[in-house]
């Protein structure tokens, strides 16, 4: 009696009770499907988070002004003494490993071109800003140092603005008006997509800092050398945390924060913030993993139950097989193979269900669909192991029957 013979018998037996077989494997189906979904969603989500971290700019620190307390009342971030050009110079000079640095003074403005009119975020930046954000131009040229000197009226526009204002037309070289001030479009930024907070990052116009400060971002409130927040790109060879500490020390000095006092500025590592979100996802993954483990166990008990029923139903058959020469191990193997076949059947259905569910989830969440064959193989192995573990007891009961009693059973 070979495993193949046993398999043929098992398949005949399973086909004879097809509905029962499929219902029995429901636990296995759910278990395997949730493993497939969990891994696909887990890797899909984390690749999505990684993409967003990269979109944010890698090795990037963001410095913003702190909170000013007025009569014990906090006025919100950025209300304290604003950051200025001097801070940028100081950081560039005194901090090791700064590869690029830029201010970001945000405002909003209407952009017009011909009859097109589009209200967007208009921000003053330094020449390095696209470098800090890992944000190259898709067409045209980036800012150059010369654009920052004087009051050169040039602009880089985001992909959304290019689409909304220019449509199919090539924006490079065109003259737009931002808050009525004419600017020449020198380049279109590559599309960056949504930010981690769901904002369209491509809905933006970047202008040289000095011009933006003077003409676009509300003259009256803005001091002469104010830069909004500061974006710093750190050499990947240098620890981001160390650079962060150095910058914090420097800023405390510059902003006269005495020991024990609360900082009146923030230095944030955006990548770390994103990683925290990944951890939430991995917690979810553990939950799903627990679900699949539990359903495999519950499914295994279902398998054991139905195999015991099967042994009882087929007692005469077992007796006959023993009478014509089946050894105990042949009977054991037959029922074990049947339990494993049942579990593998459930596993296959589970993979189909899991792939379908993962595809639906990934599509609706706009994640890449990442299906791992090794995980599917692992899930099938887990299903087979469940079959062996929970099929063993019924199979042993079958093999332990006395041939006489088995033959005599009704």
């Amino acid at each position: 009696m070979t495993v193949l013979d046993s398999l043929a018998i098992a398949l005949t037996a399973l086909r004879a009770n097809l509905m029962r077989s499929v219902l029995t494997t429901l636990g296995i189906i759910i278990g395997v499907a949730s493993v497939v979904v969990l891994v696909a969603v887990g890797t899909g989500a984390s690749s999505d988070v990684n993409r967003k971290i990269n979109a944010l700019g890698t090795n990037m620190l963001v410095i913003s002004s702190g909170t000013r307390n007025v009569g014990g009342r906090s006025s919100g971030a950025g209300t304290d003494v604003p950051l200025a050009e001097g801070d940028i110079r100081a950081i560039r000079e005194k901090i090791n490993g700064v590869t690029a640095i830029s201010g970001l003074l945000s405002g909003s403005a209407a952009v017009t071109y011909g009859s097109a009119n589009w209200v967007t975020s208009a921000s003053g930046v330094h020449a390095d800003y696209p470098t800090v954000r890992d944000w190259p131009v898709a067409s045209g040229r980036p800012f150059e140092a010369a654009d920052m000197r004087g009051s050169s009226k040039v602009a880089l526009i985001g992909a959304t603005v290019a689409k909304e204002v220019f449509g199919a037309e090539d924006p490079v070289g065109a003259q737009i008006r931002v808050k009525g001030v004419p600017f020449k479009v020198i380049g279109v930024l590559s599309a960056k997509g949504q930010s981690a907070f769901g904002r369209d990052q491509d809905d933006i116009v970047l202008l040289p800092m000095a011009v933006a400060r003077g003409r676009i971002v509300g003259k009256s409130q803005v001091q002469n050398d104010q830069v909004g927040s500061i974006y710093v790109k750190i050499d990947p060879a240098i620890s981001l945390a160390e650079a962060q500490e150095e910058i914090e020390d420097l800023m405390r000095q510059r902003r006269h924060v005495r020991g024990g006092e609360e900082d009146n500025f923030y230095v944030r590592n955006m990548a770390e913030f994103m990683k925290a979100r990944t951890e939430v996802l991995s917690t979810l993954s553990y939950l799903l993993a627990a679900t699949s483990a539990i359903s495999l166990i519950v499914g295994g008990i279902g398998i054991m139950n139905i195999m015991l029923v099967s042994v009882t139903e087929r007692t005469r058959e077992i007796g006959l097989r023993m009478a014509v020469g089946g050894r105990r191990r042949d009977i054991l193997l037959q029922f074990l193979v049947e339990a494993v076949a049942l579990c593998l059947l459930g596993g296959l259905i589970g993979i189909v269900v899991g792939v379908a569910a993962a595809t639906i989830i990934a599509t609706s969440a706009e994640w890449p669909v990442l299906l791992s064959p090794s995980v599917m193989a692992l899930a099938m192995a887990a299903a087979a192991a469940t079959g062996i573990f929970f099929g063993f007891f019924p199979a042993r009961r079958a093999a332990g029957l006395s041939p006489i009693d088995a033959l005599r059973s009704e």
């Binding site: 009696m1 004879a16 006959l320 014509v324 020469g325 050894r327 042949d330 033959l407």
Partner: protein
Amino acid sequence: MKRSGDAHGTSGAAPPTPLIRARGVSKIYTMGEQPVKALDDVSLDVAAGDFVAIMGPSGSGKSTMMNLIGALDVPTAGGLEIDGRDIAQLSSDELAELRNRTIGFVFQQFNLLARTPALRQVMLPLTYARPRPADPEATARRRLAEVGLAERAGHLPSQLSGGQQQRVAIARALVNGPKILLADEPTGALDTTTSEEIMRLFTRLNAGGITVIVVTHEPEIAAFARRRILFRDGHIVEDATTEGRRAEAAE
């Protein structure tokens, strides 16, 4: 497979070693607290090539004797040799092998597998044979032809009459070329005409050299046998040899 050596032994002058030799065999079952003596000190020889009917009322011990001869069970006391092997000394696997090679079983309820065509039924003992036979399908076809069912190889039990089902079961019992054909009330579920057919088939197989042992409570069925052994209360009370009256008539 030919077993001619054994078959010829019965007609020869020198008494050969019997195919079945029981010496003081007892079998005690424990039903709850009460031990029940199903067989009590039974001694019995069956020569190769014989045609034996085992008779007796229910509870007489004939079924127990049958189970012992079929190597489905081992005696509590005494020695039982089948084909020269003391079954009390055999392991569970060796008993299975003995059942597979030396004994063919025929049951009252046929015991065919559901949803399995006749040919596969006949092949069943071959799947448990070691070493695996070269061409099990051809062997099974030959055996089916031997019982006159060559045309029904693909039929399911539900598509066959009772007599045909029993003949499939007989082909299955014969497929490994056993020395002993052991039939437990083989005609119990069949009408008179079909019963006669089955018994004539046994007679023919016995004439071909195989030892046939039939357990029955019907005298008409027992009349086909050359030797009739009557059991009562765990003892043999009668052991008569008549020169196979019906057997001759069948030839």
